[in-house]
């Protein structure tokens, strides 16, 4: 059973449930944020094909990042702000 093997793996590396290892967590964010080296990215992408734990973590963090970018609405800049900056500059210059 894959789950049993995974649990055994967690036991062997002495970690509780939650994530596989510290390297995976830091690689996860590096991959997610486009900051990983080629090797880190390759290792992580291969790893999540086998480790459902890290796969789930990655999917959740990826969806949170996407939802922030897609759904937090921008506020429109007031026109008065642009004109007031230009006025102040022409007065000071």
């Amino acid at each position: 059973m894959k789950a049993a093997i995974t649990n055994l793996y967690f036991k062997l590396i002495g970690k509780k449930q939650g994530y596989c290892c510290k390297d995976c967590v830091s690689n996860l964010y590096a991959v997610l944020d486009g900051e990983a080296t080629k090797d880190q990215e390759e290792y992580f992408k291969t790893h999540i094909q086998e480790c459902s734990h890290c796969f789930n973590l990655y999917e959740i963090d990826k969806s949170v990042k996407e939802v922030i970018k897609l759904k937090v609405a921008d506020k429109e800049v007031p026109n008065s702000l642009i004109s007031s900056i230009k006025d102040k500059l022409s007065n000071h210059a």
Binding site: S26, Y29, E59, I60, K69, K71, P78, I85
Partner: protein, 197 residues
């Protein structure tokens, strides 16, 4: 600050300002608003940022990262002018953050019952509320990284912190964000009892 630029004429300054700085007013205004939650304060902060940018335009190297430079000025203005104000949240205790980050419990409370489909069903207000509920330093790092797409190195420069601190602050901020989203998800009916597969 050291720079090897020859002095710019007023016309050159104005052109640089217009072409490279003014197009960034949208992200700057939104950053200011998300820091202060007040339209007047955001206006003042952005105005001050642009006036400073013009005053120190000689130290800006044309064609380099204008956005990071302006965000840094805005962030410093915010710290100097607005953080003094008692109504704003206090600075985060980073020792507590570091010790949290170094513990084995990182991520545990969150991942077990926050689901991808629940996150994707969030409406904008819920996501914005979760973001706005974070302490200002955590909110800032998420804004810079996830909304504005700055690199870790750019964030380190904007915030005057080492890259390691960028990583740990981002990590903690994301965990807090996930905790907030999980609360919303539970209210939406994505409870603990549902399957996690």
């Amino acid at each position: 600050m050291e720079h090897n630029k020859s002095e710019l004429s007023k016309a050159e300054k104005d052109s640089l300002f217009e072409k490279e700085f003014m197009p960034l007013i949208g992200p700057l205004y939104n950053f200011a608003y998300r820091l202060t939650f007040d339209e007047d304060d955001a206006n003042d902060l952005v105005q001050e940022t642009y006036l400073k940018a013009y005053r120190f335009i000689e130290s800006y190297e044309k064609g380099t990262n204008a956005k990071a430079w302006l965000f840094r000025i805005l962030k410093n203005s915010f710290i100097n002018e607005y953080r003094k104000n008692a109504k704003l949240p206090n600075k985060v205790d980073y020792q507590e953050v570091e010790s949290y980050y170094n513990s084995d419990d990182v991520d545990e409370p969150i991942t077990s019952d926050l689901r991808v489909d629940a996150v994707k069903d969030m409406i904008g207000d819920e996501v914005a509320n979760a973001l706005n509920a974070l302490d200002v330093d955590f909110r800032t790092i998420i804004i810079l990284c996830d909304l504005e797409g700055f690199t870790y190195e750019e964030m380190a420069k904007i915030l005057d912190i080492p890259i390691g601190t960028v990583r740990s602050r981002l990590h903690r901020a994301r965990n807090l964000m996930k905790e907030k989203l999980r609360e919303y998800a539970q209210n939406m009916g994505y409870g603990k009892n549902q399957s996690n597969s």
